[in-house]
């Protein structure tokens, strides 16, 4: 059975131990008492047997039934240990006997040697009872050995006598009384310790660090005081640790926040970022690496560039910095096309990363990849634009140079050539002038610095003026000109100079790309929401595949009929940009061989004043 408390067990152990002690004491006392009783019996027996042996045979053995010394001794002594007494002859036959009730005198051969006549011996009773201590002495009669006197006593041992009980009881009682007393006293002392132990156990299980509060005195009170001092010290230490931990947590959060902020910034950058550590292994990369180089950013971590990059230009560029202490880093970027997407152009830069604490300590290399495809295209376009401008400027200049040179030479003497040359020179000067105007306008529009100088104007005035100018320049051609304007039109709020350029360019094209006998029509119509200005011709028309391309700068059709006319491919792009600046719409309808129609749709909501003026 499991006992609830250790001290209960120790209490029982103590009781058991005290019983054992009592038992041992009793056994020892009993042994001692036996020994002293045996000594008493021996002294008494020897004395008595000597006394009886000193008597004569006749004195001991009385005739005629009288009581002899043995009977008298038996009756007077009333010794509980006395077993028997007998006077026997030389052969051992009893002459007279006395005995305790139930005792049979054991037969026993008597010593023959005179030295052994007087003595004692231990005899076993016939019925396996207690052994006897027998004392024997010779009896003489007339100087002759006549027989022996034998006195037998029970050998002490084998039970406590009734008389001995009070002694043992008085010995056991205080022990019995003292043991539980001692036990209860001990429990009283142990209980606070037990409570303290339980309290500490509770404190441990609760995980707190509270003080011990007990009714205690003495050493336990002293222990509790020291324990509580320790608790105070521990609390202070814990508080200090908590503060340090809070500081650490705050620092960690701040660091984590900063790290995530830096991470977000690095991920948001349009550039692909790779950081190589001192040993040349990639330790960081952002997600843009996949888009720019076709390499998974996660896969490069812990690997050398040669393991994740197959572009020899990049590897050669980086190889220069391997083992560098920071010097020799080039400020010249490397331009390359990634293997997975050769159409792209990337710019790569490598920068040394120095320790913020020690600028001589190189921590690694920062590699940036930037997609410069658009910039490259823009650069190429810019270069192409300049080249085109040069071409368009030099072509009329070339013609002018050749004709003027020819005019000065022998050819100039011919009247026919002079007229031709003068016309050509005039046309080319016109062409140059238009080209330069268009270039200026288109540059202004494209640079984004163009502020529309909107004015409220009569659209019909602008259209009539433009129509008049263009028809004059086209007078020599076999063409019909039609102007169809409504009698009344709303005033419009437009940049009249730009709109005039747009209408002029459309009308010029309608004349240039017309056919002999063709018609050029300028028409305006007003609806509820918009005003439409259309320029129509029934000339050579524009092939469907070219209808988008004609709005690209410097585009010129390969059609020989188109090529037969001078042009620089800036007129229509400029018209489109002017229309877009006015938030208007330019619509083209054209059929090759039948003619073209360009319609500018001006939205009245934004471009037209809400009242009508008479035409």
């Amino acid at each position: 059975m499991k006992l609830p408390f250790r001290n209960e067990r120790s209490g029982l152990t103590m009781i058991f131990a005290s019983l054992v002690v009592i038992g041992v004491i009793v056994v020892l006392l009993f042994g001692y008492q036996q020994e002293s009783r045996e000594s008493q019996i021996r002294a008494h027996g020897i004395g008595l047997v000597r006394l009886l042996g000193g008597m004569s045979w006749e004195q001991l053995v009385l005739s005629n039934g009288r009581q002899g010394p043995l009977q008298i001794m038996r009756e007077s002594q009333n010794d509980p240990d006395f077993a028997y007494g007998a006077v026997v002859d030389i052969r051992g036959r009893p002459e007279t006997t006395v005995s305790a009730p139930g005792v049979i005198i054991p037969p026993g051969p008597l010593p023959r040697e005179p030295s052994s006549w007087l003595g004692e011996r231990i005899l076993q009773p016939g019925n396996d009872g207690r052994p006897f201590i027998e004392f024997h002495a010779p009896v003489f009669s007339g100087g002759e050995l006549n027989g022996y006197v034998r006195l037998g006593y029970f050998k002490p041992g084998g039970g406590v006598s009734y008389q001995q009980m009070p002694f043992f009881a008085s010995l056991a009682l205080p022990i019995f009384l003292l043991t539980p007393l001692f036990y209860f006293l001990m429990r009283r002392e142990v209980r606070p310790l037990q409570q303290a132990s339980r309290k500490v156990e509770e404190l441990i299980s609760e995980g707190g660090f509270a003080k011990l509060e007990l009714n205690a005195s003495g050493e336990l009170s002293e222990f509790m005081g020291r324990f509580n001092s320790f608790v105070d010290l521990a609390r202070q230490r814990i508080h200090q640790l908590e503060q340090e931990q809070n500081g650490l947590v705050t620092s960690t959060k701040l660091l984590s926040y900063r790290q995530s902020r830096v991470e977000v910034v690095l991920q948001t950058l349009p550039e692909a970022v790779v950081v190589l550590d001192q040993s040349g292994l990639a330790s960081y990369s952002n997600s843009k690496l996949e888009a720019l180089l076709g390499v998974d950013g996660e896969q490069v971590i812990g690997h050398r560039p040669s393991e994740w990059c197959d572009n020899p230009k990049i590897l050669t560029y980086l190889a220069r910095y391997e083992g560098s202490s920071g010097g020799g880093f080039s400020t010249e970027p490397l331009c390359l096309s990634p293997t997975h997407s050769p159409d792209k152009t990337l710019e790569m830069n490598a920068y040394p990363l120095f320790s913020p604490r020690d600028e001589s300590e190189l921590l690694g290399t920062l590699i940036l990849f930037r997609d410069v495809t658009e910039e490259q295209v823009a650069r190429n376009n810019r270069g192409e634009f300049v080249a085109q401008v040069a071409h368009e400027l030099k072509t009329p200049l070339n013609v002018l140079a050749m004709y003027s040179e020819s005019l000065l030479g022998e050819e100039g003497e011919a009247e026919e050539f002079r007229i031709e040359a003068t016309n050509v020179i005039h046309d080319e000067v016109e062409r140059l002038s238009t080209l330069i105007n268009n270039l200026l306008a288109i540059t202004r529009v494209e640079m984004g610095g163009m502020q529309l100088n909107r004015q409220r104007i009569r659209l019909s005035d602008l259209l009539e003026d433009a129509f008049s100018n263009v028809t004059q320049s086209g007078r020599g051609r076999d063409l019909k000109f039609q102007l169809d304007l409504p009698r009344e039109m709303s005033a419009v709020f437009v940049d009249k100079d730009l709109l005039r350029i747009a209408v002029n360019n459309l009308l010029t094209n309608a004349i240039k790309y017309n056919r002999p006998g063709g018609t050029v029509t300028l028409e305006a119509r007003e609806t509820e929401n918009e005003i439409e200005v259309s320029v129509r011709d029934n000339g050579i028309g524009i092939a469907p595949k070219e209808q988008a391309a004609i709005f690209d700068k410097f585009y010129r059709s390969d059609d020989e009929q188109v090529r037969a006319q001078t042009g620089h491919g800036l007129g229509l792009p400029l018209v489109q940009q002017i229309v877009q600046l006015h938030h208007a719409e330019l619509k083209l309808e054209s059929t090759p061989g039948k003619g073209s129609s360009f319609v500018i749709r001006l939205n009245k909501g934004s471009d037209v004043l809400p009242y009508a003026v008479s035409a």
């Binding site: 013609v399 140079a401 004709y403």
Partner: protein
């Protein structure tokens, strides 16, 4: 008579050059683009080709490449009229034999004197062949 082929999409240029060169004693043919020039070269075997760079259908650059590729061992000189500088055409032009650049605006007088000088050297030994 030395034959000259002019490839230019600018009709005024072709016209005034043709007049001036014919007056100087050359036989001149004109075409409007590279494709026509390549065709004409096969037919009339001119002694000099004068070509513009920017032309429809086939540019002057493409024409020169095709000549280099399709007419190995050709002897005639190519004059290329360009709005740009010679340096800008260096990359492709170094692969073409017997080629000279003339930057616009071109002086007809200078062109004729260059042609005369060129033919005086009789680079292709055409006179002997003709005889």
């Amino acid at each position: 008579m030395k034959k000259i082929l002019i490839a230019d999409d600018e009709p005024h240029v072709s016209r005034v050059l043709k007049q001036s060169l014919e007056r100087s004693g050359y036989l001149v043919e004109t075409v409007l683009h590279g494709e026509a020039a390549l065709e004409k070269l096969q037919q009339s075997h001119p002694d000099v080709l004068i070509t513009d760079i920017q032309m429809p259908r086939m540019s002057g650059e493409e024409l020169c490449r095709r000549i280099q590729q399709e007419m190995p061992g050709r002897c005639f000189l190519i004059f290329v009229l360009t709005s740009r500088t010679e340096i800008e055409h260096r990359e492709w032009s170094r692969q073409i034999d017997n080629l000279m650049f003339l930057e616009k605006p071109v002086s007809i007088r200078r062109l004729i004197s260059m042609l005369n000088e060129y033919f005086a050297k009789d680079p292709c030994n055409r006179e002997n062949q003709d005889e």
